[in-house]
Amino acid sequence: MLDPVIASRAQFALTTIVHIIFPVMSMGLAPFLIYFTWKDIRSGDPVYEQLRRFWTKIFAVSFVVGTVTGIVLEFEFGTNFAAFSTAAGELFGGPLATEGMMAFMLEATFLGVFVFGREKVSDALYMVSAVAVGLGTWLSAVWILVANSWMQTPRGYELASESGQLVVSLVDPIAAYANPRFPWMFVHMQNAAVLSVALFMAGVASYIVWRRGIDADSDGQDARFWRKTLKIALVVLLVTAPFQVVHGDAYGRHVAETQPQKFAAMEAVWETDSYVPEYIIALPTDLSQITDPRAKELFGIGIPGGASWLASGGDPQAEITGLNEFETEAPPVAIVFWSFRLMVAAGFWFVVLAFWAAYRWWTGELYDDDLLHKAFVGSSLLGIFAVEVGWIVTEVGRQPWVIQGVMKTSDGVSPGLTGLEATITLVGFGLVYTGLLTLYAYIVRRIIREGPPEVDGGGPTASPTPTEVTADD
């Protein structure tokens, strides 16, 4: 049997890593769906009805899986991290309850109207439902990130001890919830979600364009649909990809100021130093050092002064506090170090991809460059991958703290939890979530293979009876 602390941490990591895929899809798709619905209602151009209906199917299935995996996370604070929940409940529970009432309710009720109600409600109410669903997904992120960012940069609280138990009480809600990390996190996450979905759309559209040989002159509703999808995705990519890199650079500086231990782990800096290079890769001398990329360095490529420059916003001489200076143990350095590099590399690659495609569009060869299409296909899921490794930097990098500087994660685990119980559910989630991901991938693949629905060329009210589920394998 596993130790309940280890098993709880592993289970929370697993269930979060799986869950975050679905909010990324729904939050990222939301602005696209609002736009498609608006254009569908206003222009009556059938391609927008197709876009709305096709991407709504993927949104709906993402939402369902997101709901069932999201409840798990909420419950896990009570089941697995009871000591944390008891101690910090009055700071942490409030945002979660508010998320449910303000955001999730809005999203889940109007989703019923949005998915099933095109024929049932007026154009105006239908448009309202699209906006409400989108707003709901984004408000959800607000409250979840308020809760999470408070754990990273806690403010507005007082510590007390009641019969030996730590109690964190809320004394200044404005300071607590408008904490310094929140705006950084929210902007970075929402832009990442839109960017990830733009990459996914571009990847799917590129695949079809490439495999079917669609070009600028191909006839038919389908060809037009996929060209439109690719172009819209590309426009969004051109805005979000460079923005993410610029924003990430400033965000890194904020982390260096507010969570120096995390920043030191991101750069694997053990001894306080100035003029610290930004290592692009670093390899240890032997495998026993694999958990620590720069402990006994065999080989490394670094930009001189790069990490110092990043931490200070332009000063290559700046000092970075090393991990050895902190009283607490360091987080698992290799995970943080490499996740950070993978995220940054992905971010730069998205910029390259965006400019490459924009150049092809400009030269009129967007549908002819198969290498570009293959690059997009290969990058379809890289946005989500970058979100995952980015969150690993955030969450692993703040260890050993569950609340930075206040409570350690190992002290937050439920005291009565047995190794047997925790192992049973960990293994259970391993199996169930593997199945869940497989089924999700299967459904999304089927929706893509089915392609966009055929629609009449007429106005917004001319959509056919929606029973377009095809005959079967």
Partner: protein
């Protein structure tokens, strides 16, 4: 630091906020059990249907609603966490495997209809149809076990009262499912389904009465024979009678209207018997477990503003899809 004045020291408008929040948490649980309850009931009744068109009708009846209905469980968890964090933490960690059994059942119930609609071959639909039924029946069963164990402070995984209350809640969801489908279906399908209503409500009442009799004998400290619990039982009997008569006379709106009465009476019974305890197993009272005044005031204001909006959303949703299910209703 911002000065929050009396917000940090006194309850707003001098309201008894602790008791109100205790009531609100159970109110939210009752909303969940009422709304998602009829979804669960539809899932159980799904097992009785062989005909493909009838099965599709049942799925279409809850299609636009179930996701929103399930959010009441999320809000229940959030409200309990926000107002009584120690109860949330103790209760959920003590019933560790049970909580994950509830989650597993909900995952199955949520996923199954989505999968069922994906492919129309026999083996696939048989599998996902069964999964839908299993998820829809086990979720309320485990929720009933949870409610019983919470109230009675049971710490073991299985207990006799837990099983009996679990079955009672399953029966209650079938009552709700029949009530809902009375509005959503027509013709022979409705006639077939309605026949399950009186049986389900009789089973529900029998299981509740058995449980209460057991509690009178074994747990006199709970005060089952006090006026309010007895009034709730009487209310349930009247509502159940009304439900049976209304179904028989074909007054389906009235029959459905008795469902929330039954559900709210059941949840109120649990809450009334529990009060003033909030977590009887560890002897935690409502006033022990409540959060401090400032966040309590803030959460009260937030809920007072947001919950009316939530009711408006549900009003829009249900009025958009009022009336019987139309065949072929699917993704727009």
């Amino acid at each position: 630091m911002t000065d929050y004045g009396t917000l940090a020291t006194d309850p707003i408008f001098g309201l008894p906020l602790q008791e109100l929040w205790f009531g609100l948490v159970f109110f939210i649980f009752a909303m969940f059990l009422f709304l998602d309850g009829f979804d669960f009931g539809v899932g159980a009744l799904f097992a009785t249907r062989e005909d493909e068109a009838e099965r599709e009708t049942l799925l279409a009846a809850i299609g636009p609603f179930w996701d929103g209905n399930e959010v009441w469980l999320v809000v229940f968890g959030g409200a309990l966490f926000a107002a009584f964090p120690a109860v949330y933490a103790n209760l959920f960690s003590r019933h560790y495997l049970l909580m994950f059994a509830i989650l597993g059942a909900l995952i199955l119930r949520g996923l199954a209809p989505e999968m069922y609609e994906q492919r129309h071959d026999k083996a696939w639909q048989t599998w996902w149809g069964r999964s839908f039924v299993v998820g829809s029946v086990t979720a309320p069963f485990f929720l009933g076990v949870f409610a019983a164990h919470w109230l009675l402070g049971v710490e073991t995984l299985v207990s006799l009262p837990g099983v009996v209350v679990g079955l009672a809640v399953v029966a209650l969801t079938v009552v709700a499912g029949v009530g809902f489908l009375g509005l959503k279906t027509r013709g022979t399908l409705r006639a077939d389904l309605v026949a399950y209503g009186p049986k389900a409500v009789a089973a529900y009442l029998a299981l509740v009465v058995v449980t209460l009799g057991y509690l009178v004998a074994v747990r006199p400290d709970l005060g089952v024979l006090a006026p309010i619990p007895l009034a709730l039982v009487a209310l349930s009997l009247v509502a159940a009678g009304g439900y049976v008569v209304a179904l028989r006379e074909g007054r389906f709106t009235l029959a459905f209207a008795t469902v929330p009465v039954l559900v709210f009476a059941f949840v109120a019974l649990v809450a009334v018997l529990m009060f003033p305890m909030a977590d009887p197993a560890v002897g935690l009272t409502v006033s022990d477990a409540i959060i401090s005044m400032l966040p309590l005031n803030i959460m009260s204001i937030a809920s007072a503003l947001l919950l009316p909006l939530v009711f408006a959303y549900f009003g829009i949703l249900y009025s958009s899809f009022s009336g019987p299910v139309e065949t072929g209703e699917s993704y727009s």
